[in-house]
Symmetry: none
Subunit: 209 residues, 4 copies
DNA sequence: TATGAATGAGGGTTCATTCAT
DNA sequence: GATGAATGAACCCTCATTCAT
C-alpha cells in the first residue's frame, strides 16, 4: 500500500503507511510556510511527531519527503476526480460539473497544490518525470470530459488547449488567490470561468469582418 | 539608475549598473538550470565574470541577486508592453494585438519568466510585495486594454478574470511548453487562445435552456 | 565455555556458544570486506542470521564482536600450533616442521588473520592487552621450538628475534600475498624462507674480513 | 608542487603546500592516537591550526587527508632511501649500509609508518593502488641493492623474498616495538638482523644430511 | 576597486544502542 | 529468547559572508 518507489527499512507496511501520512501532513504545512529548501529534516521529523532517526527509517533522502507529498497529492486528486466524473454522461452539463468538481478540489487542496507547484523542480529528474506523468493523466481526464461534452466536432488541438486552460485556471485559483478573492468567491469564480469558457466574449465585442 | 533598493559599496553608478547586468545575465542561466537554492554565490560570481569578493561589493546578500533578476525582468516586460500597447485604440483589434504582443514577450523571455515564477517565494516578504506590485501593474495594463476593447459594458469582475486568464495563459506557454509544443507553435497557440477568448465554445456545445 | 569476558543476557551457555559462532563467522567475512568501522551492527546481525535485537542479547557493544573474533582466531591458532608441535623433539627438523605448520596455518586462516591484524587497534586498551598477551604466548611457543632445535648455544636475543621474524613472515604471507604469489606457491615460500633462515646468504656474498 | 591528485579550491600553490603540511603533521598525531575513523574532521582542522571550513578548502573529503599523509610518507621515505643508497657500489657493504639506512628511517618515521600501515585499507581502491605502487617501488630499490651486492648468482625469487623480508622487518621495528625494545636497541636490532640475513643459523644448527 | 583565503553555523544523514512487545 | 521500531548524538561537508591585502 505505501509508495514503494521510496524504500523504507521498516517492515510493517501498515506502520509505514501511517508514519508516512504523518510525515506528509507535517511536511506540507512546513513546505507551504517556508519552502522545501528552507525546511530542515529535523523540523519535518518534529512536525511529524517523531525523531529525526525515525524519519530516516521511512525515507532515504530529504527529497523523498517531497516526492511522497507530490505523489499523495496526485493520488488524492485523481481519486476525487474519478469519483466525480461520470464518463457515460455526454452533455455539456457533465463538463460544467467536472469543472466545478475540479475547481472545488483545487480549493480544498490549495496548500498541497501550491507546495507541489513551487517545489517539483527540486525533485530529481526521474521523480519529476513520474510526477509529470500523473499530471498528464489528469489533463487527459479533462480532455475526455471535453470530448464527451461537445455536440459539434472539435479539433484535437482545441481539446488539448481547453483542458490545459481549465487545468491552469484551477491552479490559478490556488496560487493567485491573494488577488482573486478580492473579487470572487469560489462559487462566483467557478461560475464566471464556466461562462467564459462556453461563450467567450462573443456578446461583448464586435469583431471586424 | 541602478536599483537602489539594493545598496552597493561602489560609488560609480555606471559601474554598478554594468556589473549588475553581468550578474543578472549569469544568474538567470544558473537559476534556470538549478534553481536559486542550489546555485552558490561562487557560481554566480564566476558566471558574472568576477570574484566572490567583487560580487559582494555590489550586493549585500545572495537574495539581492534574485531580487535584481526579478526586478530586471519586470522592468523589461513593462517596457515592451508599454511600447506595444496603444491606449488610444479602442477596438477589439487592440486586445488581439495586446495578447499577441504579450504572448510573444513570454516566448522571448521564457527563461527569465520561468525563473521568476519558480523562485519569487525565496524572496523576503518585502521583496515579494515589491515584485507582486509590479505584477499587479502588469495585470492592470491588460485590464485597461480589455476595457478599451469591449463594445458592450462588462462587469469589473469579468475584466479582472479575463486579464488574469490572459496573464496566466502567457506564463503557461512558458512553463507548460513541454506539453504544449507537441500541438502548437507560438502562432497557432496565440491564434487559438484568442479565438477561445472571443467566442468560447458557443458553437460547439448546446446548452440546456 | 563461551568467552566470559563478554557477558551475555542469555543464560543457556550452549546457545550463547552457538550464536556467537554464527556471529564470528559472519563478522569475519564483513570485516575482511569493509573493515570493522565500516561494518554496521545491522549487517553483522543479518550475516549472523538473526535480528539486531538478538545480537545485543549476546554482546554489550559492537567492539565485543571484534574482541570475540580476535579471541576465536587465537584460540584456533593456538590449538593447531599445539597439535603440530612436539616439545620433546629436539632436532632442527622440529623447527622446520613447526615453521611449515605455522605458515600453513597462516595460509588457511588468512582472512581471519588479516582482519585481526588490521583491526586490533579498534579494541579498547584492555582488550588489546588481552589479545597481545595471546600473541606473546604464540611467539613464546616459537621461541621454545627454536631453543629445542639448536645444537649450539644461542643468545636469548637471537631467539626472540628469530621467533619474531618467523611470526611476521607468516603474517606477511597473508597480507602481502598480492605481491608474493606472483613468485611463490605456499610450498616454495615455506621452503625458501626455511633455507634462508638456516643459511642466510653465506654462500652468495663475500664479506670483507 | 602540492599533490595534485587531491584538488584544492585555493589557487596559491605555495599556500596549499604550507597548509597541507600543517594538516599532515596534525593528522598523523591524531591518527596514531585514535585511528583514522575515530578522528573527526574538526579535530584535524584544530590540530592543523585552522577552521573546519579552511580544511575543506584544501581537500575534498576526509579520506584525502589520509591519502596526503600516506603520499607524504612515501615521498620522504623515497627521498631518504635514494640519498643513502649508492647504486655504483657493489660489495656486500652496500647492502649492509642500505639495511642500516632503511631501519634507521623506519625508526625515525615510526609514527607515520604505523599510521600508514593500519589505515591504508580505509582509502578508496584507486588511492590504495597508488600507495601500493609506491611500496612496490621501494621494494624494487631494495631488490636492486641486493642484486648489486651478491658475488654469486642468486635466483630472482630469492631476491624478491629477501627484499620483502627486509621491508617487513623494517616495519616490524615500528609496529612491534612494544615487544622488541625489551631486548634490542635500534643498533643491536640492525646488527642482529644483518648477521642473520648474511649467515642464517648455519653455525647453530646441524642438519641431517 | 578587486581579490580570494578564512570562517563557522548549520544541514543532511548514519548508526550504535535500547526497550516494549 | 527474539524482534525490530525508535532514538538522538555525532559526523561529514557546504556555503554565505567577511575582511585583510
Amino acid at each position: 500500500m505505501p509508495n514503494n518507489q521510496v524504500p523504507s527499512s521498516i517492515k510493517d507496511e501498515a506502520l509505514v503507511w501511517k508514519r508516512r501520512n504523518q510525515m506528509i501532513k507535517g511536511a506540507v504545512a512546513l513546505f507551504k510556510e517556508k519552502g522545501f529548501h528552507k525546511t530542515t529534516t529535523r523540523e519535518i521529523a518534529k512536525a511529524s511527531g517523531f525523531s529525526i532517526g525515525t524519519l530516516y527509517e521511512y525515507i532515504r533522502k530529504k527529497e523523498d519527503v517531497l516526492f511522497l507529498v507530490c505523489d499523495s497529492i496526485y493520488q488524492r486528486v485523481k481519486e476525487r476526480m474519478e469519483a466525480s466524473i461520470d464518463p457515460n454522461q455526454t452533455s455539456v452539463e457533465s463538463l460544467v460539473e467536472a469543472i466545478r468538481s475540479y475547481f472545488q478540489l483545487m480549493d480544498d487542496m490549495q496548500d498541497e497544490v501550491l507546495v507541489m507547484y513551487q517545489e517539483v523542480k527540486s525533485l530529481s529528474k526521474d521523480a519529476q518525470d513520474y510526477v509529470l506523468q500523473k499530471e498528464r493523466d489528469m489533463v487527459a481526464m479533462l480532455e475526455q470530459v471535453i470530448v464527451n461534452s461537445v455536440t459539434e466536432p472539435i479539433s484535437e488541438a482545441d481539446v488539448t488547449l481547453i483542458a490545459n486552460n481549465i487545468f491552469v485556471q484551477g491552479q490559478m485559483w490556488g496560487f493567485r488567490r491573494w488577488i482573486l478573492n478580492r473579487t470572487f468567491t469560489l462559487d462566483s469564480y467557478i461560475d464566471r470561468q464556466t461562462q467564459l469558457l462556453l461563450h467567450g466574449l462573443s456578446k461583448e465585442v464586435k469583431e471586424l469582418s
